[in-house]
């Protein structure tokens, strides 16, 4: 490739590996990338696909043991591979800058923001301290930080995650680099903030005329913000194309599958989610042929023995596949789920009434923190048997605390939970333990939820033992049945949790939750720790089991698409309050609360044509001192004086659809709630 057409960065045949003590990981294998001025190249792939390693290779910052094995990286025609460290240093942060995933740990905790932003300016531009400060101020203003002069003296911990990521961006852009590598820049942020940051990056890229390499696992982010996309799988690029072309006319079966299993708001709930069988190959010992062959529906013998080269099929569209497909999968091809049977029982199986949880005193008091945290402030809802109630909200809104109170892991400060007619906070000891059978939980991190010292057999047997159910033989039989249900072979019984992949672990956790034949399962972020391709497997399984056993789910997630797919009814939480409750359609199609609407607007849809929507500004305030009146008012575009003075009460908009807002997006029903 010639340097021209505004080509800034050209990566060709890049291979990088990491030497371990006894083995070597073939992390990046023959990657070609091309970045043009003013353009965003999206690099997408699941975890472990080598995206980050590619970015780090370009920066010359591979971790210890890492090395570039082959290939070339040219910055405006200048070869970077093999460049002496002293010269590489002049490029880093100056001509190529990078921002990383976690803004919480990416800033030096003991230096002020000002110092950190000024550092590259002084280093590369030879600015004086005063000049650097001026420039830092300018940069902070540029990335949209209010009162930048005050922020200069702040320390990172005083800033919210979104602000920190803005600081990171300011720092990266302070020398106006030619190339910006953004490695999962928003993964650690809430969805509303994610949208803000991505927009900022996009605007700045245009303003500064940079080329941006946007590394992400999220097809939605790619669809919205990238001009061109390269898809990575197991260390190699499998397909590259302009964004629109990739989403509408992808050729690689992996690209096709990846897009298919990315959940959308428009996903038909009655159909199963598309999922990719198996798991990515072990890069310690990669397969000889196409690395996707083992999971590919179109694979032939050739695929397993011969690796397809990356070749241009059309100008600007390259592909590495022997058996290309054509365009996206038809959603209708996925089979339908078994319908959830209507249960005969009337009345809710779970009734949450005015739950409040405040932390304070106790352990915090010992540390000198007398302030109390109002984690959950008066939440009420009910779930019908066999239904799924979804709870959404940004991190820190009290979702998890609520989940713990529902399963009686934490006592509420006030209010009550009634499950199957039993008031949990009135039950004690044996009675409570017996009652727990009906109420199980799935945790976000299945590895954390499985005792690392226990074999799977013991883990699955534990519910029976804890409840004193059955003889050893009966327990074993039941366990085998459970394994069959979650699709795991019986041989797993002898193994330990760390030997499994995340998806397999979540299956085990689900099997355990099912063991006692519960009526209700509370799933707290059941798939957020999983990769997209595995995520849909677990969600499908959950749905299937619900249908089979008539389970009632409470699904808690920050991911609105997951809840959209799973839930019949949805509650939206904000700062400990349930601001809107309604049927799934009510919430997703007819939101009344501005917050709900904002959340929905922030979701990056994996569709390049989705277009722009209203976004919520700023970030959630501290739960230590929630705003008076309506807690959302500080971020609400519709807020007025009344919102600060008066706390809005829930009002009905549709049957079963209520929202607490003074100035809702829709007119409420006239009926006034009593009591």
């Amino acid at each position: 490739m010639m340097a021209g057409d505004g080509e800034v960065l050209a990566v060709e045949g890049l291979s990088a590996g990491i030497r371990l003590r006894t083995s070597a990981v073939d992390a990046v294998n023959g990657v070609d990338l091309l970045l043009r001025k003013g353009e965003t190249l999206g690099l997408v792939g699941e975890s472990g696909s080598g995206k980050s390693m590619t970015g780090l290779s370009i920066m010359g910052l591979l971790p210890s043991g890492g090395h570039v094995a082959a290939g070339s990286i040219k910055l405006e025609g200048r070869e970077l591979v093999g460049l002496p460290e002293r010269q590489y240093r002049r490029i880093r942060g100056n001509e190529i800058a990078m921002i990383f995933q976690d803004p919480m740990t990416s800033l030096n905790p003991t230096k002020t923001i000002g110092e950190q932003v000024a550092e590259p300016i002084r280093l590369h531009l030879g600015a004086s301290a005063g000049q650097a400060r001026e420039r830092a101020l300018e940069m902070l203003a540029l990335v949209g930080i209010a009162r930048p002069a005050e922020r200069l003296g702040s320390y990172p911990h005083e800033l919210s995650g979104g602000l920190r990521q803005r600081v990171m961006i300011a720092m990266a852009l302070s020398c106006e680099p030619k190339v910006l590598i953004a490695d999962e820049p928003t993964t650690a942020l809430d969805v509303t903030v994610q949208a803000q940051v991505l927009r900022l990056l996009h605007d700045l890229k245009d303003r500064l005329g940079m080329a941006m390499l946007l590394i992400t696992h999220d097809m939605g982010v790619i669809a919205r913000w990238a001009d061109r996309v390269s898809v990575m799988y197991a260390g190699g690029i499998v397909e590259s194309a302009p964004t629109r072309e990739l989403f509408t006319g992808m050729r690689h079966p992996y690209t096709q599958a990846l897009l298919a299993c990315t959940p959308r708001l428009t996903q038909p709930r009655e159909n199963t989610l598309y999922s990719i069988a198996g798991a990515p190959p072990d890069l310690l010992d990669p397969p000889a042929g196409c690395r996707f062959a083992a999971r590919c529906a179109h694979a032939t013998e050739r695929c397993e023995s011969e690796a397809p080269p990356l070749a241009a099929t059309r100008p600007g569209h390259t592909l590495a596949c022997w058996h290309p497909v054509d365009g996206p999968l038809d959603p209708a091809t996925t089979p339908a789920q078994a319908p959830v049977p209507d249960t005969e029982q009337a009345g809710p199986v779970l009734d949450v009434d005015d739950l409040v949880k405040e932390y304070g005193g106790g352990r915090f008091a010992l540390r000198g923190l007398k302030r109390s945290v109002k984690a959950v402030s008066g939440v009420s809802f009910a779930v019908e048997p066999g239904r799924t109630f979804g709870l959404v909200g940004e991190s820190g809104c009290g979702k998890s605390t609520l989940a713990k109170m529902i399963v009686a892991l934490e006592p509420p400060s006030s209010g009550s939970v009634t499950a199957l007619g039993g008031k949990l906070n009135e039950l004690r000891g044996r009675a409570l333990r017996r009652h727990r059978r009906n109420l199980q939980m799935m945790f976000q991190d299945p590895l954390d939820a499985l005792d690392p010292r226990m074999r799977i057999g013991a883990i699955l047997r534990e519910p029976f033992e804890a409840q004193g159910i059955g003889t050893a033989a009966e327990q074993l039989a039941a366990i085998r049945e459970l394994l069959d249900e979650v699709g795991l072979p019986h041989s797993v019984l002898e193994r330990y949790p760390h030997e499994f992949s995340g998806g397999q672990r979540q299956r085990i956790a689900l099997a355990r939750a099912l063991a006692l034949n519960p009526r209700v399962i509370v799933a707290d972020e059941p798939v957020s720790a999983l990769d997209v391709s595995v995520r849909s497997q677990v969600l499908n399984l959950m749905k299937r089991l619900q249908a089979k056993h008539g389970l009632t789910y409470v699904v808690i997630s920050h991911d609105l698409t997951v809840v959209r797919y799973m839930a019949d009814a949805v509650g939206v939480m904000y700062l400990g309050k349930l601001v809107e409750v309604g049927s799934s359609d009510d919430i997703y199609l007819r939101p009344a609360h501005p917050y709900t609407a904002g959340l929905l607007a922030a979701i990056p849809e994996p569709d390049p044509d989705a277009g722009d929507r209203i976004e919520i500004g700023s970030e959630m305030p501290s739960p230590y001192e929630p705003p008076s009146g309506c807690r959302f008012r500080t971020r609400c575009p519709r807020a007025q004086a009344r919102c600060a003075e008066e706390e809005p009460q829930p009002r009905d908009f549709d049957p079963g659809h209520s929202a607490a807002c003074h100035f809702p997006l829709r007119e409420p029903q006239v009926t006034v709630r009593t009591g």
Partner: protein, 294 residues
């Protein structure tokens, strides 16, 4: 990245302990440490059966003989064969080290577990007690206590154990606190497990790693401490001996050129302490589950 880059699609059959053993075995220092410990234990406890020497009856006439064929490491002031003496002294030093470590760990584990489980005010008070005792220099209080006891293997173990349970107590408490917040404990609670069951099936097995690691360090520390006591004149008395006392006696003859009274036993002392430290370090690395997750 929550998933490792090398997720195994087909799980191999390895147990947690076996994995720990394997990663432990990959640590050359650890293997060396175990080797040294085994060798020294054999040397001290089995050695006297192979290399039989008189260690009870003194032989004033053959005192302070330099090494020769009959006495590979010479003799000491009482005419005891030094090689045999090191074995005998090593028995006591190792025994005291181990007993003291076990006593300290037992007390510490119990205390830390109770504090960690109780929480709240009880925990606060219990931890202030630990803070208080920790702020008193260990050696000072042990020496003061030693002025009032006649030194035996048991009394020294008790004294050392009685004042060194603080670190394990803190460790275990911290571990219990962190384990309590782990998902699998919550899962067990949700499935209706009793407190007792959670403690015995989850907390204790998981805290065991920390406790075992602690024991090895504790042994190393106790061996050093008892050698200090011996050196300062509070060690074991005839017919018993430990390495610190041996060194202390040897110092008197340093000028006589009686190097064989100092260097062999000093070397053994450093070796065994070092070996326990090696093993402790490696165990900590290999048992630490978090490392495996990364």
């Amino acid at each position: 990245m929550t998933e490792t880059a090398t997720a195994r699609p087909v799980p191999e059959l390895t147990s947690g302990w076996r994995l720990a053993v394997r990663s432990f075995a990959q640590n050359r220092l650890a293997v060396l440490g175990v080797g040294i410990i085994v060798a020294l234990v054999l040397f001290c406890f089995a050695g006297p059966h192979l290399y039989v020497t008189e260690q009870i009856t003194v032989d004033p006439v053959s005192s302070l003989l330099p090494p020769d064929a009959a006495h590979p490491l010479g003799t000491d002031a009482q005419g005891f064969d030094v090689l045999g003496r090191i074995m005998r002294g090593g028995q006591a030093s190792l025994q005291i080290g181990l007993f003291a470590a076990l006593i300290a760990t037992a007390i510490g584990t119990l205390y830390g577990t109770v504090a960690g489980l109780a929480g709240g005010v009880v925990d606060g008070v219990m931890m202030r007690v630990v803070d208080t005792l920790l702020s008193i220099p260990f050696l000072f209080i042990v020496l003061i206590a030693a002025t009032r006891f006649s030194s035996t293997v048991l009394s020294l173990s008790l004294i050392l154990g009685a004042f060194s349970w603080l670190a394990p107590a803190r460790l275990v408490r911290a571990e219990v606190l962190s384990l309590r917040s782990r998902g699998f404990v919550a899962a067990a609670t949700v499935m209706g497990a009793t407190k007792l069951r959670i403690i015995t099936r989850h907390l204790i097995p998981n805290a065991l790693g920390v406790v075992i690691v602690n024991i090895t360090f504790q042994v190393a520390d106790a061996i050093i401490a008892v050698s200090l006591l011996g050196f300062l004149g509070f060690g074991l008395n005839y017919p018993d001996v430990e390495w610190g006392t041996q060194l202390s006696e040897g110092v008197s003859y340093l000028f006589e050129g009686a190097w064989w009274l100092i260097y062999p036993v000093g070397g053994c002392l450093v070796l065994v302490v070092m070996a326990f430290n090696f093993v402790g370090d490696a165990l900590r690395d290999s048992i630490d589950v978090r490392l495996r997750r990364r």
